[in-house]
């Protein structure tokens, strides 16, 4: 009956998304009157016991080095063994890059209904009904899971991390680990930058910036806000910025606390990728830009004048000048 949370790691470190699912899992467990356990695969360089402060009491750690890189097939096989051994009836993933690979496989393996991209706690008053975004954030749906074992994958940034007290008991778990067929040969990371999908604040710019040579001031603003950079589709298509910064319906969907859109008109396809942001700021010289309708705060004016002032004001606020 317990809740099992998949604690996702990258290069031995626990991802921020994992803290969200641990906090979420603890709340769901409380709702169901049960306990939450965690599972970690591969080598970890952090103190897993400290994750107890997010509510998890027991963590199953499968240390096998074959699990240091993701092969969804191997991962699903190992997690299924932990599910069977722990008797968990609800398994929670982050709907991040790894969760999207593993959860559907585990769903088939365990014949467990999966709701991917949950945005709220499940309604467990009568069965298990989970709210998720559909139509790229233009609507939501309540999905009933009909199977005995259930899987929820939680949208990144949809649930707040709740830290309290406590330590977790870390228990080595011996599993049969398959041979990975996906052989990772290299990992390329943009070092020092905030990953877009994990960022609390995102600064995004569009065609209004006129050319790639003008991104310096956007980068400066992002830096003082400790924000990730993003861009609109025309900007990525024109190769002013790399594709992995493109947010929108066909790019990456994000849900930061604060989304600052500079020189982006706000086409419906762009909004579909950012409409789950909690606070939206729009800076555009066109007062008729559709983005203002979706914004919380706005400035009508010239980005080239506003952005440097914005950066200065943030620096002042943070006592950086």
């Amino acid at each position: 009956m317990s809740v099992l949370v998949f604690i996702d790691t990258a290069e031995g470190h626990v991802k921020k998304a994992s803290l969200e699912v641990l906090s979420y899992g603890a709340k769901v467990a409380e709702q169901l009157g049960t306990t939450v356990e965690g599972v970690v695969l591969g080598t970890v360089s952090e103190d897993l016991a400290a994750l107890g402060k997010y509510g998890v009491r027991k963590i199953h750690h499968v240390k096998d080095g074959a699990l240091d890189h993701l092969d969804a097939q191997v991962y699903a096989g190992v997690i299924a063994q932990v599910v069977n051994a722990s008797g968990a009836s609800l398994i929670i993933f982050s709907n991040n890059v790894d969760g999207k690979a593993i959860a559907p496989r585990l769903s088939v393996r365990l014949k467990a209904g999966l709701v991917s991209g949950a945005v709220a706690l499940p309604d467990t008053s009568n069965g298990c009904v989970v709210k998720k975004n559909v139509f790229s954030g233009k609507a939501f749906a309540n999905i009933a899971v009909k199977t005995e074992i259930k899987i929820i994958s939680l949208s990144p940034n949809a649930y707040k991390i709740i830290a309290g007290e406590g330590t977790a008991e870390v228990v080595p778990f011996t599993a049969t680990v398959g041979t990975p067929k996906v052989k990772v040969t290299s990992v390329v990371k943009a070092s020092g930058e905030v990953p877009l999908t994990e960022a609390e604040i995102v600064v995004s710019a569009g065609r209004g910036l006129k050319g790639p040579e003008n991104w310096g001031m956007v980068e400066e603003l992002a830096k003082v806000l400790h924000a990730a950079l993003a861009c609109s589709r025309p900007v990525a298509d024109a190769h002013w910025r790399p594709h992995n910064e493109h947010v929108g319906q066909t790019g990456i969907a994000i849900a930061p606390n604060l989304y600052i859109a500079i020189g982006i008109s706000g086409a419906i396809q762009h909004l579909a990728g950012v409409n789950r942001s909690k606070v939206i700021v729009v800076i555009n010289k066109d007062p008729e830009a559709p983005f203002f309708k979706a914004a919380d705060y706005g400035i009508v004016g010239d980005a080239f004048e506003i952005i440097p002032k914005f950066t200065e004001a943030v620096k002042k606020l943070k006592g950086m000048v």
């Binding site: 790229s136 749906a141 899971v145 700021v281 203002f292």
Partner: protein
């Protein structure tokens, strides 16, 4: 080389989203249907590029849906698939749909199965992984590049703040996103040729549904934008700090 590309229909990206029957059904009234962009721009076009590099490659398309999906499949064939199969059933449950696709895939012994990274209506990102598990194949999700070196695929996938490159011996299942290929539009020759390409209609196999949709809803409308004069940028920063508590 045999490639299976999974195609889904989705409402046009500008479609108005509304619901009927007590918010239990999507209101398709007046909605223009398109090929799900991820399936078309990235999965299908990458398959076509692989066929252009090796003309002996065969591309089959599969879709699960009623007769109303046929124009979508014809358009996909106009872009470049060799033949298509439509499993004649409507469903909103990923496991049920994946079971139908896996059955078609089993008959065809494909080297590569491509899906889009998700559909833009239900945003499940589940079909590729489920099909892979049903067929006991390796799976790479959210791929941004796909190259072939003999019978080994070199696949790049998105990870947080970067990319990961892996080698996988075929057969493999891959979900595709931006970076895989550039969108194309069908030309007249393709449209003419598509008319005579085979489209099989297959009846569904028995499969379970693991989930069901209770109802839909629309997000709350924003209260309205608070505009700050352009010469008072520090006021915006104050509001973001004190009122919105966002910085």
């Amino acid at each position: 080389m045999k490639i299976l590309v999974c195609i889904s229909k989705s409402p046009d990206t500008t479609a108005k989203i509304a619901f009927t029957d007590n918010n239990t059904k999507f209101d398709a009234n007046g909605v223009q249907w398109i090929i799900n962009p991820y399936d078309e721009w990235f999965a299908l076009v990458r398959a076509i590029e692989l066929k252009e590099a090796d003309p002996t490659t065969v591309i089959h398309l599969v879709t699960v849906g009623g007769v109303d999906v046929e124009p979508i499949i014809r358009k996909a064939l106009a872009l470049g698939g060799d033949e298509a199969a439509r499993v004649n059933v409507d469903s909103q449950d990923s496991f049920y749909i994946a079971s139908q696709i896996a059955e078609v895939a089993k008959q065809g012994a494909y080297d590569i199965i491509f899906t889009g990274k998700e559909t833009i209506d239900y945003n499940g990102s589940s079909i590729g992984g489920m099909v892979a598990e049903l067929l006991d194949l390796p799976y790479v999700a959210l791929a941004t590049h796909f190259e072939l070196k003999g019978t080994t695929a070199i696949i790049t996938r998105e990870i947080e703040g970067g990319e990961e490159i892996a080698e996988v011996a075929l057969p493999v299942t891959v979900s595709c996103q931006k970076g895989m290929a550039e969108a194309r539009i069908p030309n007249m020759r393709g449209i003419m040729a598509a008319r005579s390409k085979p489209m099989k209609v297959i009846e569904p196999i028995a499969a379970d549904t693991l989930t069901s949709i209770v109802d839909f809803g629309l997000p709350l409308v924003k209260a309205g934008v608070k505009l700050v004069p352009a010469d008072h940028v520090e006021e915006l920063v104050r509001l973001l700090h004190e009122e919105a508590k966002a910085i």
